[in-house]
């Protein structure tokens, strides 16, 4: 890949305290009377160098928020910035390049390429970009995630936790400005889940990364620096330095349809999904 890779030096933060911002972010599905508002004029700031969790009941729009912030999905209205770049209105090509160079992803179902081994999966974003991995950084990431003796294995030969660690390494390897993790512990047992959360925490504390994680597990959210609560497409609450108990408390109020101010609304939503 030519020029852009050279222009953009990946790694934490140029100027500005926010890794991503959105103003009046609205996402509607369908048209006319059947319109569903997944996001309703959301304003959000993701602070650089922190671990932000997004929580909310099923259908609250938390995944949509993440997809819109990451430039995976288009928005219906409003503006979104990634660092200093406004991504609303960018063409597919520019968005793709932006994702490639400045954003990392983790998914609930790991999403590794089954035909590539662990190391090849980790370096895949760099391969796509036509860049070489910084060997010291790669070594550090692999070491931190404890994958050193698993690099030659195919995904099918790895446990779920190991697969998600590979996905985590893949998200870290290009030193993105922002890592989005979509229910990264959703498919893992609790021990493997804790491990992965520990790595994400470490990525923020030790490697200076910025992480946004969508989750429905209060325990997972408790690992973050701040939790945003979504309901019905709006940010209804936030919690700094959360604990599992505090998160659970807030969630209960949301789940029973009662907002933070106490008034109760619609029916209870179904079981949580990714």
């Amino acid at each position: 890949m030519p020029a852009p890779a050279a222009e953009h030096v990946p790694g934490p933060a140029p100027a500005g305290p926010f890794a991503a911002r959105a103003r009046g972010l609205t996402k509607a599905y369908g048209a006319g009377e059947t319109t569903v508002l997944a996001l309703d004029a959301v304003d959000v700031d993701i602070v650089r160098g922190r671990f932000t969790a997004v929580m909310g009941p099923s259908g609250s729009g938390k995944s949509t928020l993440m997809h819109c912030l990451a430039g995976l999905d288009t928005v219906s209205a409003g503006r979104v910035w990634l660092g200093e770049t406004e991504i609303t209105g960018l063409k597919d090509r520019e968005l793709t390049r932006l994702r490639r160079d400045r954003v990392g992803f983790m998914f609930q179902s790991f999403n590794l390429v089954p035909t590539l081994n662990a190391l090849e999966n980790i370096t895949l974003p760099l391969d796509i970009a036509g860049r070489r991995a910084d060997p010291r950084w790669l070594d550090r990431v692999v070491g931190t995630l404890g994958l050193r003796d698993r690099l030659g294995h195919r995904p099918a030969q790895l446990s779920g936790g190991q697969q998600q660690r590979v996905a985590c390494a893949r998200a870290l390897v290009s030193r993105p400005e922002l890592i989005f993790a979509d229910e990264p512990t959703g498919n893992l047992d609790s021990r493997a889940g804790r491990e992965v959360l520990g790595f994400l925490r470490g990525a923020v504390d030790d490697l200076g990364q910025t992480v946004v994680m969508v989750t429905h597990d209060p325990g997972a959210a408790a690992c973050s620096d701040a939790v945003l609560f979504l309901a019905d497409g709006r940010i209804v609450d936030r919690l700094e330095r959360p604990t599992a108990r505090a998160v659970l408390d807030r969630m209960k109020r949301l789940d029973t349809g009662c907002g933070p101010s106490g008034e109760c609304g619609g029916p209870a939503p179904g079981p949580e999904r990714g």
């Binding site: 995976l72 390049r97 994702r99 390429v113 089954p114 895949l124």
Partner: protein, 855 residues
Amino acid sequence: MLRATLRSFLAHKGRLLMSGLAVVLSVAFVAGSLIFSATLDRTFGRLFASTAADVTVRPAENLDESRPSGRIATLPAALADRVAGLGQVAAARVDVEAGNITVVDARRRPVSPTTGAPTTGANWDPAGHRTVELGSGHPPRGPGQAVLDEVTADRADVRIGDTLTVIAAPGSFRVEVVGIAAFTAANPGTALLFLDTPAAQERLLGDARAATGISVDAADGVDAGQLKRRVADALGPNAYTYRTAAEQAESDVQRLGGFLDVLKWVMLGFAGVAVLVGVFLIVNTFSMLIAQRTRELGLLRALGADRRQVRRSVLTEALLLGVAGATLGLAGGAGLAAGLIRVMNAIGMHIRATDMVIGWTVPVAGYAVGLGVTFVAAYLPARRAAAVSPMAAIAETEAAGTGRPLRTRARAGAVAGAAGAAALAGCAASSPAGRAAGLLGAGVALTLVAAVVAGPLLVRPVIRVLGASFPALFGAVGLLSRRNALRNPRRTGATAAALMVGIALAVGLSVAGASITASFDRQIDRTLGSDFVVRHGNSAPFPREVTDAVRRAPGAGLVVPARYAPVAVRLPDGERVATTATAYGPGLDEVADIDYAHGDGRAALAPGRLAMDARFAREHGVRVGGTVRVEFQDGRTAALAVGALTGRESAERFRAPGGLFFGLATLERYAPGGQDAVLYVDAAPGTGDDELRAALERSLAPYPHVQVRDLAGYKELVRDQIAVLLYLVYALLGLAIVIAVLGVVNTLALSVVERTREIGLLRAIGLSRRLLRRMIRLESVVIAVFGAVLGLALGLVWGVCTQRVLALEGMTVLAVPWDTVVAVALGSVAVGIVAALLPASRASRMNVLAAVAHE
């Protein structure tokens, strides 16, 4: 990215197997035909170059023979002495060669190639360059001795000392075999009989002072081109044809080429069908692989691969497939060529397989075809892959190629269909054959595109009808299999398209073939008025003594000979048309019912007169009574007056524009020395048909190559000649079906993989293996029958339109071979069952638990 592509290719290699086979077949046929024809070209080029003299003098050639006239063009043998006297000439020799003699042994069995290749009689020239050398015995001396080539001698079991009868234009004569000649190099497949030079002149040409050519050897250090100019200057540049050894070899190869060209085009036809059908298979495979990998592609997109990279990745996979397929195909092509060479050897040619020529064009063409096919076929799926949204990586459910709206297809299909229908209607209505054929081609191409594009739209309505009885007949399994076939109309449509193309081509061609046969039948019925027709087995002309024998047969009444003559007519509108005219003996109207628009047979055959087709005359401004200049072989021209015009369906019009004919006497006057090709024989009053037939057969006993046929037999003969075309059509159909079966197998196999979980579920709730197999089999049959139905419909339309174009050439009867149509329809059921064998057994062997847990 390249690594991911390579890994993906290797991981899916099993699924690409069928597509690969299609590529292998296409490339094999292309490479095989190129290797084969290059090998023949070089073998014979070398052979002819080694046997040609430095300079050859031949009679001037002004008209090509599309039908043999039986004439042997000669020049005075005395020219040899004149040429020998020129400076720079080392030697000049007389050549005698008669290309169409018949040799029979003492028991009146033909000693000629069984393939219909001619037997050539030539002079044995001790000093000349020959394709043979004496193997045993001695050279022929005097009129009663001959040398025969060893291949023919072996085949016909002829030994030295045997007596043979040679039937040549001037008359039959007997010779004793005194030597057997061995081929020094390749053998072009003809039988060779050598006489000494005076005997050859006398017996083969009927003129001791004639020769068919002069071979000139150059003195040391004289260049062939220089010598050619010198000889030409001495004899008159336009009086004869002069060729250097290289030119002569080229001309000989070309003369041999007709037959070889046919083989080449047949092979290329097969390659074309393989390519056409293969494209569908590959499109489908890649579409399905991409549908199955939507999530993976979405992930690549989410990780920052741009559209171009995804597209390139898919195309790279396609190119890898193309390279692998083309490489195997090239090997297969070499094998095919080797096989063909063996076949050629088996029928009497001698080509060493070690002489196989694989020029640089073979790999270039092979890889161009292989890569081209896969690239073109994978392009659309690759674009679709590039359009996969990164959101697909996150989506919970995997949407494997579910139906996007088919609106664009409907529109494109309707446009192409309308244009194609218009072109076909236009071709049926237009009159100049050239334009009609062009419209037909455009119409066929456009309707094919329309059928392919709109095929998926027809899946629902057609399969609903085809499978309507399934639920009643096969219960829940029947219902499921019908639903499965309907599930993804795009996929079903594309799978069936492969079969459709093959069947449409074959049905179209067989309708055309049947119409040609029926037209000839009717034409023979209408025009043939004689009791019997006497003809050579492969419509070659025969010597005068055969005609005499027929005339002398007891009970033979009127005998009307027909002879072909290449002519060129200069028409009033200034055009020069080269064609083949037919010369008839007196009494034509007694043995043929010709539809005259003006005049009659007497007026047509009178001295200095000719007849032609009324429409041809009108188009070129010819009027009855007007004269046209007719150029004969040897360059003599005559002004002939138009004595009669024939209406539609004048006899023997096919391949002879203008339908020209005149009296035998007229031909004898301007171009003497031809041989009769057909004799129409009527019984004398009071003689029964059977009686005459027996008498004719007795009289023709010495000439085993000439046969007596009555009306039915004559039709049979014509039909057999056209049947060769039909065999070819069936072979093409066979190949198309093989590839189409690969396509159905492919689709079903990939569907089974895709539906692993669903199949596991069905098994878990109690579907037996047998029923599961039946479900897949029924789905396969439905797809195959759907393809066959579309193919039959398209093929019938094409066939009918082709017949309309042929009607302009005189083939006015439309015949639809319903037996073929029914056989194809039933055959498609068998195709479906065969194609389902493998996928069904694979599905039924799945482990239920593993299948249910399959992601």
